[in-house]
Every structure is written in structure tokens, then in C-alpha cells.
Symmetry: C2
């Protein structure tokens, strides 16, 4: 990593572009730009407002220093622990981006210094396996993914995705007339053999349709499943994508929120940030590390690491893709907010790359702590057993039984894998063991018993004052003909809920999970153990 | 204005939506939001990062006060003339938007207070003629127009536009497979009778095509023509749009940069800002003022008034359009940058609406001064005569002759209307009077003599170290079969250049126009008068 000089350049992947993105013209202003640098040139060409007429003189941001120590609530331990970053209107030594520059119209690419920082950071942390990768700023991964769909997808296309996928990603391809091709997952994400099987049998499974050529995934702390994909799995997926000529979009907002395994029963862990290098070494590799052809479009963002409202992120991709994405950016959005660019750019240059890694090491510790709180809250309200010790098909990680009810004949209510990344626990509910579900199933007028039971529980939870996200939100859209659990060939007698551990306090989590236990126990016909 | 209570609501215009925008689903999270407000609810549903983990504590912005007096260079007259706006992480009395709120995920709508401010400002300044108009924030007019095209246009659609139109607007509809239907303009913009004629004869002129239903225009200081449309003209256009069921997109970045007529020969004008009320009364009405049906989508922005890098603007539109645009915003971009929202919102609430109008009154004065500099520079390098005093077909405003060459047989080189808004002078070049053009025209192998001569002059200008923007950049795209001046039925023997007066200094303008005079004189076979 860090020295890509002897690596190959990206191969030609331009056959993946859709008609729309192929037909974009380069901005005619290019001709003008070629002359702009002439000594003594007077330009009456560009319609830029005069920067002296921007009313902003300077801005000063008070932030945590990168070495900040956060207390259990996530606040800096010492009140005075503040770093002031001042950004002046005019250029100044040591300032990455001046306000005059950041607040003026720029090229669609975004600020050059910030892009150089992101390129060097990507090279250092993720070490792409090809040389000519480029950075293009965007307004966060929502904007990034929207531009990827519009770069590559034609109406009628199939988009390969995880078995449970991010709904806002789908909301883009559905109105375009595209549909999902979900691939089965295990505790490490998409199963490579399943992807290969799909592609090998495409013509048989989906006669007279275009072969899919785009794989969308959230490889760290996946939303909603919380799954993180490790190196060997990624390599196998990447190789399959080479074999079947598939572009991989790595939507990676949680890449810096990775945690060690959850230690069952531990409540007195010491949460201490490791050094930048130890932290960096602890991260799962990006798909970029295997990408010797330039077929990965990585979406990186500051939303989860510095704040979502920055609306600032970047593409890492081959130069052919970034050129087409730049053309789209110029006319669709322009570069991200100048305030965001100036503030994030100058904060990063003030912290330095090691400082940013130090901050990330502290930050992920806070989310690890929250992950632990949530797992502990579940352990307090349910009896947890390792899935391996109990024969429940498809269950991984831990199985939750009603508190005090565990015996060899006990009823497993749900299973989950304590996540090693991201913000979510994905509870796999064992509807099949609920008498109420059997009742619903026996009603022949009910078309989708899993959905009906899930809705019933969800409403009961809401009335008991705990909100979770229904698993059906994350069901890939396979077209109007396949909408029920059965039609989509999804697991019978299984449902899912997503529990976020990112925002609530420890106490709220405990109360929330207690409420959930009450509702689930009663829905499974069990009187709550801890109420006795 | 200001009291819309007795006005009608918007009519149903949902038949204008394209298939794509009709098929967007409301976010399923709505169900969750309905429960969110329950007393005591614990939400494990939303995946929001914890605001204590945003490293930003506060920000302070030094800006001009709204009452600032700017010197001739556009800088505040007194150095100490600075207003400090501090924005804290947590909510505080008198603060429009806190950082914790601005930097968190929000709804796609943008901050409520800022939207309320924009609604009240629009009501006060532009007085829409219907009651239920709504505000939706966007990331500036580029983002806004992109979303309008994707809301209303189907591939193959015709988009009605000005005879010379903004190229980045076109760059959106061309790759979508749409094409322009330009309408002839005069010194006040699109001619209503021409629009009516087009629509009345549509089936004859364009058999078997869908009737156009979207009109795009820049009604103040139009880019590139500099033309501003006044009230009576707007009403006539609006009435035609009602008659032919057309949606009007009013792209209005220059709405606050309107100037009194240029006073020929005056060089000692005093530039003094008028009061907010006098300023407001001086503005041309928006199309909103005539919009009793809700068929206008107004794009307003802070790009030209506070700085382009804010990437912050807003739609003013009927609730059916804003609802569909919100669905698009949620999945395509999310709300604009939180920094931009917080900084602009708090600046505006600190200045107050009267203060903002005061600032605009000062700002437009600076651009008026630049408009005057540019016109004076042209007057120094050319002999100017009123177009009305000379028989040159199509010429309006002033005609420029080579310096010292004016006589009854003098050769008119170009004509222009000193603009009363925006940032551009649109020079209409009288190619027909150039011997060199006649030479090019007589070459039968040259398919487009106007374009060839324009290119030749443009290169000569660039080599003489003055850049202007070629008029052809603004030619509406009418499909692959109609690309030459002749094929498009454009004026024979005429070419255009756009000259921006927004950024260069007075001295640079003078030198630039001198250089232009030299090149044009020589291209018209005239030795420069002032060189004698």
C-alpha cells in the first residue's frame, strides 16, 4: 500500500456505461479553459460573481481535537478540550481551502487539495490494486449512489444486491424500471457460490433478459444486517465479478466503524482508543485492495465519521467512470457545498491523516460501547445461547429464549449475530415457533402470513412504546409479480426486525429491549420469565 | 402581497408528472414517523449517528453587516465593519438552526425554520397569486432544474426555451432524449405571440409528436441575453401557458440583480443603496405574481446573492409538485449541506428580512456599477449610436461602429442592449457587413459560414488575450438533423458573443474591450480609428 507505481492501470470498462451517460457531451467551456492560463489573458467569458461581494469574511470552527478522550456519554472528557480552526476569505499558508475559493463556482470535481487528500488517504488505508484510480467529490453516498445508477443502469436492468438491502438504494432503481436480483447471504455477506450459480444459470433462470452487470453492497456493518465482509470473502466475490464482468459498487459509510467480537457477558470492558496504525490494521480490506482492473466504484463519506449534515463524500473509481461522473456532476448538482468542503478540508489538514485515524479510533470505540450496551440489554431480557449449541436452521450467533424459560424444549424466539461493524442488530425472528403465527398461517385468506404476523408484532411493539424497523423494508424489489414472502421464495416462518444502537442511551436501550421482550414473549405465548 | 388567505389553491396539474416521478413510493419510514411523537417512545428504529459524536462544538462566521457600504472595489468601506454570527451545537434562543440539528440527518425538505423564512420572504417580495404554494430546499438551481426535468420530462419530449438558452440547462435534457423548441425573443424576452403561434400550429409543425408542456426561462438578466422580462410581458406569457397547459420553470438566479437603464455617456453616477422598500418596489414581478393556478415552478437561490459555494436554493411550487420533488430529494441527494443551511439561516435571521433586502440593494448597486463600466468601456473603444437611428434589421439598444469611422456609410459591427439585470452583455455581431465573412460565405465547401466566421474571430480574440463566450454555446439543441445556422433557421449573417461584466476590474474591462475592438475592426476590414 502507499506505492501504486508498479500497479496496472484500469482496463477498459466503457461497455458498462448506459446510453444516457455515453451521450453526455463534454462541457464546451473546455475550449475556453484551455486558453485561461495564458499570461495576461483578460476573461470576459465566465459568469462568476465577484468574491468581494460574498459577505463572508472568515469562519472559525470549534471542534474536538483528534486526540480527544470521550466519556461514556460520548462527550469530551475535559470541557476545555477544543481546537479552533479558522478559515479566512483569502488564501493563507497552512490553510487547505480559502473561503473565496470554496464559496466560488468551481469545476464539478470539487476542491483539488481535498481530492488529493482523499486520494492519498485511500491509497494509505485501502491500497487499491491498480494505479490510475481517481477521486471525485460528491454530496454524500446518497448522491453518489444516485449517480452510479444513472451511470450504469438502463430501464429493465437487474441490479444484484444482498438478500436484505438498503431501501433508499432500491428507491432509485425501482422507478427507473430496474429490479433487484438478491443473492443469499450468510454471516459474512453475499455467498460467492450463490453469485456464481446465479450468473452461470442466468439464461435459464431469466430467459431473454439482459445479464446483470452491477452489484450493490454495503460490505461493512451492512444496513440492515450488520454483517461485515472479510478479506477472503471479498476476494472470492471480486473474482466472480471479473469472471462475469460485473461492476461492484461498494457503498461503505460504516467502513470506519468496525469492532472486535462481542464478548458475551462482559460488562466491565475498558474502552481505550488504539493508535492510528493499530486501528488501521484492524480494518477489513476494501474491495479496492483486490481491484486490479478498476471495476470497483467505492462510495466513501464523512456522514458517519464527522456528521451526516456535511453532505460530503467521494467516489473512488477508474478515470473513465470519474470522467463521466464529472460530466453528470457539472450539470446535475455541481460540486458539494463550499462550506462543507472548506470546513472538512481544513479540519482534516489541521488534524493530519494520523489525527483523523486517531479520531476514527476514538469514534468507533463509542459505537462499540453502544453495540455492547445493546447486546447486554438483550442478554438481560432474554436467555441467550450460542446458535451452534441448538439446532435452529439458519440461525447464527446467539439465540434468544424467553428469560428463565430455557430448557431442552425451550422455544427460540429470535437469533442474531452481534455485529462487528455499523449501527444495527438484525434480529431473525423464529415465527415458526409461535402459536399465534400458526393461527395466522391456518387462515387460508391470509396471503402472506409472515408479513401479517410481522405487522401485528410491530404494532404491538409500537403500542408498548418501542419502535424497531420492520424487516420487510429491506426486502429487494423483484417486480409486481413477486411481492409476498412465498412468491419471492423467502424463508418460511421467519421474519426480521432491525434494531439501531447508534442513538439511544444505555438506559433507553435496556427499557426498550425489556418492552420488546414482553411483547415477543406474549406473541409467542410465553409469560415473561422476569415478571414472575 | 403578504396576505394570501383569500387566494385560490393550486389546480390539479398531476397529469404533467412523468412516469418516473409518478412511480416513486412514499418512504415506508412514514409509518414509523407517525408513532415517533408518542410520549415515552423509545426508538430503536432510526439509524442516526449520535450528535455528541459530531466533533463540531460551534462555529462563528464574520460577515458584512446588512447595512455595509461597499467601496468601488466592492469591499466594505470600514475594515471593522464586521458582524459575528455564532452558531452553537445545541439549540439557543435567537438561533434559527443549531449545529446538532443542521449536521444530523433530516427530512428531505430541509430545515423548517429556513423554509418558513423563504415562504414568508417569497410571499412578501413576490406575492404568489395562489394560496397553498410551498417551499422545498435544494442544493442550488442546478440541482433544482435537474429535479424539474426529472419530474416532468419523458424521453422524446420537447422543452420550450428562449431563442438563446443556458447550456447547462440543455445538457440535462439532451442525454434524456429531449430536444429544445426555441421561441423567438425581443428586448423583453420570449414573444407571447410566437409562443401562441407555435402551440396553435403544433400538429402541423411537428406531426405525431407530443405537445410540449414545459417552458424553461431565465426571466431576469437572462443568461446569455441579459434580457429582463417585465410585468405585462409575463402576464401575456402566463396566459398563453394557461391556454396551452404549459408548466413554467422560472430559473431566477439574477432576480435580485436588477438595474435602472444605462445612462449613455454618464461616468460620474453616484451609487447609493436605496431603502429595502424602494428596492423591493423596483424589482420586476415574478411569474408567481400571475400564477393563480400553481403552474409556475420558481427556482430561487443564494448563489448570486450570498455566494455560489453555498449550494443552497429552493423551489417555490404547488404542493403536488413539492411532494413529488421531496420523494426525489430523499433518495437522490437528501437535504442541502447542513453547514450551508445553518450559516445562511442564521445569517438571514441575524440580518432580518429588511436587512437582507438592504444587502441586496447594496449588492445590485455593485453589479450595476460593473454593468456601467463595461458599457463605458465599449463606448470608449467604439462609436455607439442608438439602434433606432440606424436601419439595421433586428438591432436593438446601441450599435457599435469602429471608433472614428461613423458616417452615414459607416459599417455597424455589432449591436447590444445595455442589460437591466444579471451579469452579461449579449453582443449581436453583424457578420453580413464583414468582407471576410463574404469570403467565407462564397466558399461552397463551408457548411456553416456563420459558425466558421465566429470561430475564426473567437480564436483571434483569444490570441489577442481576451476571452468571450461564443454565442453558439447558447443555441438550443434541435436534434441531430438541425445543427447548422441555416438548418436551424437562425438569422443569416448574424453571430453572437457573451461578455460577462461580473468579475473583471474596470481597468481589465477597458483593456479587454480595446483588444476586442482591434480584432473586430480588423475582421471587418477597418483599421482601428483610435490607432490613427
Amino acid at each position: 500500500m502507499g506505492s501504486t507505481q508498479r500497479l496496472p492501470n484500469a482496463i477498459d470498462l466503457s461497455h458498462h456505461l448506459n446510453t444516457h451517460s455515453k451521450s453526455r457531451n463534454a462541457s464546451p467551456l473546455k475550449d475556453i479553459l484551455a486558453f485561461m492560463s495564458y499570461e495576461g489573458m483578460i476573461s470576459l467569458a465566465g459568469g462568476l460573481p465577484h468574491p468581494s461581494l460574498f459577505p463572508f469574511q472568515s469562519t472559525s470552527i470549534s471542534t474536538y481535537p483528534s486526540s480527544v478522550v470521550l466519556d461514556a456519554a460520548g462527550m469530551p472528557k475535559v470541557e476545555q478540550d477544543v481546537l479552533n480552526v479558522t478559515i479566512t476569505k483569502e488564501e493563507q499558508t497552512g490553510q487547505m481551502i480559502s473561503l473565496a475559493k470554496a464559496l466560488q463556482y468551481g469545476s464539478g470535481l470539487g476542491d483539488t487539495s481535498l481530492r488529493e487528500w482523499a486520494r492519498s488517504f485511500t491509497d494509505t488505508v485501502f491500497g487499491p490494486a491498480y494505479q490510475d484510480f481517481e477521486i471525485l467529490l460528491n454530496s454524500g453516498n446518497t448522491d453518489g449512489w444516485c449517480k452510479v445508477v444513472r451511470l450504469l443502469c438502463e430501464p429493465g436492468d437487474f441490479v444484484i444486491c444482498e438478500q436484505h438491502t438498503y431501501p433508499s438504494a432500491q428507491a432509485l432503481w425501482i422507478p427507473m424500471g430496474c429490479q433487484a436480483i438478491p443473492v443469499r447471504m450468510d454471516g459474512q455477506g453475499i455467498i460467492p457460490e450463490e453469485l456464481e450459480r446465479l450468473m452461470e444459470n442466468w439464461e435459464v433462470l431469466h430467459p431473454k433478459t439482459k445479464r446483470p452487470h452491477l452489484l450493490y453492497l454495503v460490505p461493512v456493518g451492512s444496513n440492515p444486517t450488520g454483517v461485515t465482509m472479510l478479506g477472503a470473502r471479498r476476494k472470492a466475490i471480486y473474482d466472480a465479478c471479473v469472471k462475469f464482468d460485473i461492476i461492484i459498487c461498494e457503498d461503505d459509510p460504516y467502513s470506519f466503524l468496525q469492532y472486535p467480537d462481542y464478548q458475551t457477558g462482559t460488562t466491565d470492558l475498558v474502552y481505550e482508543a488504539v493508535t492510528p496504525n493499530v486501528y488501521k490494521a484492524s480494518l477489513a480490506p476494501s474491495f479496492l485492495a483486490y481491484d486490479y482492473q478498476g471495476r470497483v466504484i467505492r462510495l466513501d463519506t464523512f456522514s458517519k465519521t464527522l456528521a451526516p449534515g456535511n453532505r460530503l463524500g467521494y467516489f473512488v473509481a477508474n478515470p473513465m467512470f470519474t470522467e463521466r461522473l464529472t460530466r453528470a456532476t457539472e450539470v446535475e448538482t455541481q460540486a458539494p457545498s463550499g462550506w462543507s468542503q472548506a470546513i472538512i478540508g481544513n479540519l482534516l489538514s489541521s488534524w493530519g491523516t494520523a489525527g483523523y485515524l486517531q479520531w476514527l479510533s476514538t469514534l468507533r470505540l463509542q459505537y462499540q460501547r453502544r453495540r455492547d450496551w445493546m447486546c447486554q440489554a438483550i442478554a438481560s431480557s432474554f436467555d441467550l445461547r450460542p446458535a451452534s449449541s441448538f439446532d435452529l436452521p439458519g440461525a447464527e450467533g446467539l439465540i434468544a429464549f424467553a428469560k428463565g424459560s430455557f430448557s431442552s424444549s425451550a422455544i427460540p424466539i429470535f437469533s442474531f449475530m452481534p455485529p462487528t461493524g455499523g449501527m444495527f442488530i438484525w434480529a431473525r425472528l423464529n415465527f415458526a415457533s409461535s402459536p399465534r403465527f400458526a393461527e395466522i398461517q391456518s387462515d387460508s385468506s391470509c396471503k402472506d402470513p409472515e408479513q401479517a404476523f410481522s405487522d401485528e408484532i410491530w404494532i404491538k411493539l409500537a403500542k408498548a412504546l418501542v419502535l424497531v424497523t420492520p424487516g420487510s423494508y429491506y426486502t429487494p424489489w423483484e417486480g409486481l409479480e413477486r411481492t409476498t414472502t412465498k412468491e419471492m421464495g423467502r424463508e418460511e416462518g421467519i421474519g426480521y426486525f432491525r434494531l439501531a444502537f447508534s442513538l439511544t442511551t444505555k438506559e433507553e436501550m435496556e427499557i426498550g429491549i425489556e418492552r420488546m421482550a414482553m411483547v415477543l414473549n406474549s406473541s409467542w405465548g410465553i409469560s415473561s420469565g422476569y415478571e414472575k
